[in-house]
């Protein structure tokens, strides 16, 4: 059901999109924006609605009439007047993102009503909605979270003969359900906070994380990098993360489970081919990425759930094996607390978990082992809620991959919604901590913030098929912190070194796009949006600081890091939380420092190593 859009929102959408009533698809955009806003956390929702109301008020002050009552020309004048104020540009950029997403979706559905792809049947999972799970139950091990780490831990423990219950806050989505629904609807369901998890800082970061059976692996791009040797060496020698000893063995097993292979060129798509061509022109090393998507058909929808079942997210690969070994999954249950018995002979000991169903009722599962794999952003608050957050470093040491994207306009359509979403890695600058990955957007869901409002934006939207996008992520210094216990507050202060890396990445991506033949490069910077030549781009970027970039962030890690130093590491070298018996950490929060590449393999291998060591008692 769609929420009806308020008049202020309708007028605002019409003004942002320069809706003159000639295109049929624009009518459906306001309700879709309203539905998208409903999925956002309350502060973001209120901010967008307040911004829409403010623009409406501005229109009344300027013209005496509300935006919805104005004609297209008058609306355009109002928006042009607003856009002429440079200080307002970042704000306009922020509030127009939901409008762009909704508009892109409606336009795609209107123009390209392709039949849904045939979806294969998923491997069976033993999922029980929390409403049907008994209020009191027991298990040998409870795994909190079914993402990369949780799934791997569950599989290992179940294979060792333990009765395992995986408690997942999100729901189970099948490949068939992905195939049936438009990307934006899936986006709302699959991401926590409607994808608008924000880290406060300068600049603020958008840090989307998944919430479903399979965790973020359902919505990641499927890129599978092994952690670089120097990173693993540092984990071992500098941090004393003993579970990373012989890390090749768990990495090999994870790659087998995910069926990781280099992406063939046949379905790579223009976005990736252009990146390869650009890099070749520059003489830079680039290659199709290694991915966990054998038989990928190039639907370009990885980040909203693969509709063809090619991407081996853990709910298609690892969790079915765990369930075959006896593990059970409870869906729609948010773990509130890890229960502890505080009168044990050797200090407090985990006793199970208390979880809340969507209707507010609670269920408890008793088990002597609790594996916390709620993700680097939610493991610290869960431990704090449980009275286990006493370690001063818990929640600190947050590493992310700050990322920016740059788009190049070509003379021909290059992103017709086909191809691999994240296809090619340009590794020329990896030594500098910069990894460029050709990353297209799902149909109608460009995450790249197009410049302008009103007619300028509309023009850009009409020409999105000609845009190729590159993304770059940088290896950061751990500069973030997860605060809070019930509601989280993320704090991330971009380090000076990392700001420089972002700017270098921006230039490098522009060079690749120009080398590939782009007519124009869109920087995503509000006051310096486009450059037509490499020289112009260089000059333009000289005026830009990292604070003005639209920075997203991915791959949070390190908030309950494992290590030998009890002062510095909340978890011990085996991944056991210090200060309590029977709690294992098995998610990204375990990694002592930034893995410098897409971390799925690292997290899964670490979880596997930790669970294996628990099982073997070593």
């Amino acid at each position: 059901m769609r929420a009806p859009a308020s008049p202020a929102l309708e007028g605002f959408v019409a003004a942002v999109l320069a809706d003159d009533g000639t295109a049929g698809w624009t009518r459906a955009v306001p309700p879709r924006v309203a539905a998208l806003l409903d999925a956002l956390p309350a502060p973001a929702r209120l901010a967008v609605r307040a911004a829409a109301a403010a623009v409406d008020t501005y229109a009344v002050a300027r013209t005496g009439r509300r935006l919805s009552a104005l004609g297209p020309t008058a609306r355009q004048q109002v928006m042009a007047s607003l856009a002429s104020r440079r200080a307002l540009l970042p704000l306009l950029d922020a509030v127009k993102v939901p409008v762009m997403l909704a508009a892109g979706t409606e336009r795609t559905m209107h123009h390209d009503a392709a039949p849904p792809p045939s979806a294969p049947k998923d491997p069976p999972l033993d999922c029980t909605p929390s409403a049907h799970w008994p209020t009191r139950s027991t298990a040998d091990a409870v795994v909190v979270g079914s993402g990369a780490g949780g799934a791997m831990a569950a599989r290992t423990l179940a294979a060792a003969g333990l009765s395992v219950v995986v408690v997942e806050e999100g729901e189970h989505h099948t490949t068939a359900s992905f195939a049936r629904r438009p990307p934006l609807d899936r986006f709302i369901d699959l991401y926590r906070d409607g994808g608008a998890t924000i880290a406060v800082g300068n600049p603020p970061l958008v840090l989307p994380v998944g919430r479903a059976v399979g965790g973020t692996t359902v919505v990641n791009s499927g890129t599978c990098y092994r952690p670089p040797d120097h990173v693993v060496d540092r984990w071992l020698s500098h941090y004393g993360f003993a579970a990373a000893e012989g890390f090749d063995s768990p990495l090999d097993e994870v790659e087998r489970a995910l069926r990781v292979a280099r992406q063939p060129l046949d379905v790579l798509g223009d976005n990736g081919l252009l990146a390869l061509a650009g890099a070749e022109q520059l003489g830079w090393a680039a290659a199709p990425l290694r991915r966990n998507a054998p038989g990928c058909r190039g639907s370009c929808q990885c980040v909203v759930g693969c509709p063809t079942g090619a991407k081996q997210s853990v709910q298609l690969s690892v969790l079915p094996e765990a369930c075959a070994a006896g593990a059970r999954i409870v869906t729609g249950a948010r773990v509130r607390r890890v229960l502890t018995d505080r009168d044990g002979p050797r200090g407090p000991r985990a006793a199970g978990v208390l979880a809340r169903r969507p209707d507010g009722s609670e269920l408890e599962i008793l088990s002597p082992l609790v594996v916390v794999a709620a993700g680097a952003l939610h493991t610290p608050p869960l431990l704090r809620r449980s009275g286990l957050g006493g370690h001063p470093r818990l929640g600190r040491n947050l590493s992310v991959h700050p990322a920016i994207s740059v788009a190049g306009r070509f003379s021909r359509p290059v992103s017709g919604g086909r191809g691999v979403l994240q296809s090619v890695g340009v590794e020329h600058l990896r030594a500098e901590g910069i990894l460029i990955e050709a990353t297209a957007a799902p149909p109608g869901m460009s995450s790249f913030v197009l410049p302008g409002v009103g007619r300028e934006l509309r023009r850009e939207i009409e020409r999105t098929e000609r845009l190729a996008t590159l993304g770059a992520m940088i290896a950061d210094r751990p500069s973030g912190r997860v605060l809070g216990s019930d509601r989280i507050l993320l704090r991330y202060d971009l380090a000076e070194r990392d700001a420089g890396r972002l700017l270098r990445a921006q230039r490098a991506m522009g060079r690749v796009l120009f080398a590939a033949g782009a007519e124009e490069v869109l920087t995503g910077v509000p006051h310096a949006p486009r450059a037509r030549t490499p020289a112009q781009l260089e000059a333009l970027l000289d005026t830009v600081s990292a604070r003005r970039l639209h920075v997203s962030a991915f791959h949070p890690t390190g908030t309950a890091a494992a290590g030998a130093d009890p002062e510095r590491s909340p978890a011990d070298p085996q991944g056991r939380l210090r200060g309590v018996h029977g709690v294992l950490i098995a998610d990204g929060s375990l990694l002592p420092s930034c893995p410098e590449v897409n971390p799925q393999l690292s997290i899964m291998a670490a979880a596997l190593a930790v669970a294996r060591r628990f099982v073997t008692g070593s």
Binding site: T135, R136, S137, D341, L366
Partner: protein, 464 residues
């Protein structure tokens, strides 16, 4: 470890949805929980569960058995696990109350549970403790009975620690069921108040049915420290074994305890000798087997009922009366009524310590109850005299009247000497008569039990 346990009853009502059924069924669970230690909220207490479960239309099993883990603070959990039969299947009920300080009432009264059969779920439901109707009976039903009876009763080592002005006694009285003969073996250590060395002495006395009372003394001999019981050249009174000789008497008896200890005085008074004296029976009843020779005669005993007792204190009372009555069927009555020698206390009426072990329970529950009542109100009363003395009193809904008769021909008079050198006369009979009348209030006093002992009661009266 605490010598006390906890027993309480709990009834909960609720519903269950059995696997494969469409509708809930009413459930009633009546439980008795028994723990081996005192239930304290800050620690985890485990208890055994027994009771009855009724599931409307499906089960009524009085044999539910399981365990209870009570940990409202340390683990914030009260967990019930109990097995029962349902249509020939064995089901396990597993559930727990999850204590929350924000919702104390709900969390302490609601018990969600799951039923399992061979590890597979067979149903689920919720039970509730009915606060309005159940709280008072629940609280009133808490009991903290003594548990963990040490196999050998109190420490068998002598209680005397070398202080002057103390006396310690081991004595045994028994009745030969074959001949009706009573036997009294008395072993005593006296540490004079003037600091002179402690000495041991004693006597043996025989109360034949068809002849005069005979007795002979042994000792005194110097007392040397012992690790177990009473041991001199003449006589030994050790746990399980009594041997010795005195004049024409020679005895060798084995002792077999038949029950837990009985503390005639408050238990604390044995550990902390704050009262003028303390009296206890290491075993409330015992059987004696062996021989007692007296000159040319010999008494052969086989499982002769009787009891051994120990006394430790400052000396004899100003006036006292004592009764040990084996009432049969495992029941025992022990009475000590005494007037203290201490100044200020010597003007009080006799303090009565009456302990009736009946059907395995000791009444009154506290030894202090019969002696001092409630600040003197309701204390038991004694009328000490000869040849007949009486004790009576009421505690709770029960009252008792005891009449003891010591015919002079069956009574032996002996001189006692206290540690301070003062003398007393004890008139003892191991062939006394007694009548014990136990009544219970049921709208009027109704007789609950009436025992008449003819020649098998052991009693004495002491005077100055």
């Amino acid at each position: 470890m605490s010598p006390r346990g906890t027993v309480f009853r709990e009834t909960m009502l609720g519903r269950v949805r059995l696997a494969g059924e469409e509708n809930d069924r009413p459930v009633r669970l009546d439980l008795v929980a028994r723990a081996d230690r005192v239930l304290l909220p800050h620690r985890t207490t485990r208890a055994r569960l027994t009771g009855r479960i009724r599931i409307a239309g499906r089960a009524d099993d009085s044999g539910i058995e399981g365990e209870l883990e009570i940990s409202p603070l340390a683990r914030r959990r009260i967990r019930y696990r109990a097995g029962f039969d349902l249509d020939g299947r064995r089901l396990l009920l597993d559930g727990w109350k999850s204590v929350s300080f924000t919702r104390p009432l709900t969390s302490m009264t609601v018990l969600p549970y799951t039923l399992y059969e061979d590890g597979a779920r067979a149903g689920a439901g919720t039970l509730r403790f009915p606060l309005a109707t159940g709280l008072l009976p629940f609280l009133a039903g808490f009991r903290f009975p003594r548990t963990a009876v040490p196999a050998d009763g109190p420490d068998p080592a002598p209680r005397w620690d070398g202080r002057p002005g103390r006396t310690e006694v081991w004595y045994t009285t028994l009745t030969d069921p074959a001949t009706g003969t009573g036997v009294w073996l008395h072993h005593e250590v006296v540490a004079p108040s003037d600091g002179s060395p402690a000495y041991a002495h004693g006597w043996a006395a025989l109360f034949p049915e068809d002849g005069p009372v005979q007795h002979a003394r042994f000792g005194p001999t110097p007392w040397t420290a012992q690790s177990h019981g009473f041991r001199t050249e003449d006589a030994r009174a050790l746990p399980g074994r009594l041997t010795g000789s005195a004049g024409p008497f020679r005895w060798a008896l084995s002792e077999e305890p038949q029950g837990p200890p009985l503390y005639t005085f408050p238990r604390w008074s044995w550990r902390h000798p704050w009262l003028p004296a303390a009296h206890l029976l290491p075993a409330a009843r015992a059987h004696y087997t062996g021989t007692v020779r007296h000159g040319t005669g010999e008494l052969r005993l086989t499982d002769a009922p009787g009891a051994s007792a120990r006394i430790y204190g400052h000396g004899n009372a100003r006036r006292w009366a004592w009764l040990h009555a084996d009432l049969g069927g495992g029941d025992v009555l022990e009475i000590v009524a005494a007037v203290s020698m201490r100044r200020g206390l010597d003007g009080l009426p006799p303090l009565v310590f009456l302990r009736l072990r009946h059907h395995g329970r000791t009444w009154p529950r506290r030894a202090e109850r019969s002696a001092v009542g409630w600040a003197g109100m309701g204390r038991f009363r004694a009328d000490i005299g000869l040849p007949r003395w009486r004790v009576g009193g009421r505690a709770g809904l029960q009252r008792i009247r005891v009449t003891v008769t010591q015919p002079p021909e069956r009574t032996l008079a002996l001189d006692y000497t206290d540690p301070d050198g003062s003398a007393a006369v004890c008139r003892n009979s191991e062939r006394a008569d007694a009548e014990v009348h136990l009544e219970r209030w049921r709208g009027g006093w109704r007789t609950q039990a009436l025992w008449r002992l003819s020649g098998t009661a052991h009693a004495e009266v002491g005077e100055r």
